[in-house]
Subunit: 414 residues, 2 copies
């Protein structure tokens, strides 16, 4: 009897994680003779623990087609790091009960660690399971792979939004707002903050200041730079990573006070920096926190990012066919003048729980900008547009029915 | 000698104010034999006071073409309400010195008031000036006109962004974020907050709660509604206008406390509501403040909005040719099943300093949603896509040289 497939989405979602799902499902449908059925975990790996397996072939084929251009995680995702042998054994029990022979885990560093551990656990229990990790993270912080699917689209959103907002503040600066500040994601790695820098071809261009989590935030030099920029330029555009810290290694976002309800302010480095600038330099400041808007912005996705995410899904089936286990697929760029890439793979051990921060050579000497090599790296990944279809002014995004297969086991306490 | 034209952009800019500029310039170029030269005020009406007149024909024709798809205010805008006769007299002096016979003012309610006053002032001084107001505001709060250019595109941005972020939180809600909150502009009128509601075709759809400035914010009923929504639905999406107030008529955004730098928190209703929900209901909350991103988001403009903005500019020249003065052009929709519109006009007195808030019939009985008639009204205005051209992954936006003509008068103290 041919073995079934189990696919799960993991961690924070991206504009293109469903493109990977679309790629793997389409390739499965073309290679059906080699496999049994295709199940997706409802809400990621929780679906395996709860024995909630979505029967993908019960979905409407048009909705499956729309997956490639739909943001979010269509089957549901979760934040859950598996730790106990009890959990691994449960997954094994569920996989045995449903004849699962292939496990695809679509996630970031933590998820690759889980895939690796499950692979080891199954080996130790003499259960044959092909375990393949599929990279996904807007933070672009996975090692070995040249870049991560999801990053290119969010980078494009940030670059486009920074460009647009900079034209706005430029229009208004003589009599009104002098500073615009955008907070972007990337708590530990500055790849997303860096992506705003692709705009800049000379000193006068926005963004004038990028604040990276890799660099200590120094209030005095920051304020001096803001002031000089406004004096020279009339206005100043700042892009700040949510994860910037002061010299005591404290998150700046944690320095918010209590509001009038008596509650500690929740996160948000932008309002804190905006207050600092306004009170210290008396400039009118506008600020924006992109948060989920950036992570879900499929409407302005990068074409190259969508292609890579989709191809990763397609290739996963190829490796499953030859029963290659214990690997994560990677995007390998070629050293050539024109950007080109292909799909490779690496041992899960090489990527599990590792974090790739922005390298020093990508940050300018003053710490507030990116270098030309960084600009080139990011430019390659935001190239091309891949618009969703629209109906009545709104994007047509996939709506799945998520029909579960019948359970065979007892309930598991999470 | 044929009279020259003076065009100025005013107030907060929009994704399509340059489309109006593009329309009026293109129509001028086709009708050149009727007019002298075309000047644009550098930074709006400040350009008239400072005698800083941009010679539009010195711009590269390709950059003029790109204006139609460029956000921000390409000639610069300003926030300045003219009050003193000294200011009106200065404008008259500048207009006389440069043979200006036509004044087009592209702005909101305040600007229409200024246009009206300048029109009256010139009459009283026996100076013949054709004064025409061109509507512009993302807030959609001008009276007489059926809608305002700029609103449709920002409404589309908000509707699309809310839809996308709702898919994100829906994916994550079982094990992580339960509430997503988006703050949008519209300090006095709820049109932009309302625009998120076009998504919703049944009770379960996002957004689950819209907070309008027209409705008093009541903490208890709001928290109850959030809790019930999460219980029924697994997650809750909230869109809040920046201008919501409590029963004491205080802005909720003013209830932020001091941060660790000792500064009062600057604006932002989203972080305050997020803290309130988190502390009261213990849900993980994500929040976003769109701010300038929404107002500058030309990359996801509404096609109908761009068409209306452009056509307004074209029609302005038609009215100038017949020397129709003291009017603001309007967008008049026809009462028919399929949405259709045409350009009309109204006396400036009818629009100056008036504000059109969201009518009662557009807000649901519980105060947290829009009605079907509101949904239809907004749907008409977000229809169709009008993408900018892209190069190397970024939009191609217009870059003007803004070459000023030679000054003839003494300096004026602003």
């Amino acid at each position: 009897m041919k073995k079934n497939i189990f696919y799960a989405q993991s961690g924070g979602v991206t504009p293109v994680i469903n493109a990977t799902a679309s790629g793997i499902i389409n390739s499965y449908l073309k290679n059906k003779k080699y496999f049994g059925k295709f199940f997706a975990g409802k809400n990621g790996i929780i679906g395996a623990l709860n024995e909630e397996l979505i029967d993908v072939e019960k979905e409407n084929i048009n909705q499956i087609k729309l997956l490639k251009s739909t943001p979010g995680g269509a089957f549901g995702s979760c934040r859950l790091k598996l730790k106990s042998p009890r959990e691994f054994q449960r997954i094994l029990d569920v996989f045995k009960a449903h004849n699962i022979g292939y496990f695809f885990y679509n996630g970031g560093g933590d998820s690759q660690d889980t895939t690796n551990k499950l692979n080891e656990y199954c080996k130790s229990q003499n259960y044959s399971l092909v375990c393949i990790g599929l990279p996904k993270t807007i933070d672009n912080d996975l090692s070995v792979t040249d870049n991560c699917p999801g990053f290119g689209s969010v980078a494009k959103y940030i670059a486009v939004s920074t460009y647009e907002a900079s034209l706005d503040v430029q229009s208004m600066c003589q009599s009104s707002t002098k500073v615009f500040l955008l907070e972007v994601m990337g708590r530990h790695a500055g790849w997303l903050a860096a992506s705003s820098g692709v705009l800049k071809s000379n000193k006068k261009d926005a963004p004038h200041i990028i604040l990276f989590p890799e660099k200590t935030f120094v209030q005095e030099s920051f304020l001096k730079k803001v002031k000089n920029t406004v004096n020279e330029n009339g206005y100043c555009v700042i892009v700040a990573s949510e994860g910037i810290k002061n010299s005591k290694n404290q998150f700046i976002s944690d320095s918010g006070g209590k509001d009038s309800f008596g509650h500690a302010q929740l996160g948000g480095v932008a309002p804190i920096l905006a207050s600092l600038i306004n009170k210290s330099l008396k400039y009118k400041v506008h600020w924006s926190v992109a948060d989920y808007l950036q992570r879900a912005a499929r409407h302005v996705a990068s074409k190259i990012d969508v292609q890579q995410a989709y191809t990763l899904g397609m290739e996963a089936i190829k490796y499953a066919k030859i029963k290659k286990s214990g690997i994560m697929l990677t995007i390998d760029s070629k050293k050539s003048k024109k950007y080109s890439w292909s799909i490779g793979y690496t041992d899960l051990k090489n990527v599990a729980n590792k974090e790739k921060r922005l390298p020093k050579k990508y940050i300018s000497n003053d710490g507030y900008a990116i270098t030309q090599s960084c600009r080139q790296y990011i430019s390659n990944l935001i190239n091309g547009e891949d618009y969703p279809k629209y109906k009545n002014g709104l994007p047509l995004y996939s709506k799945l029915r998520k029909i579960l297969i019948k359970k065979k086991l007892d309930k598991f306490e999470l």
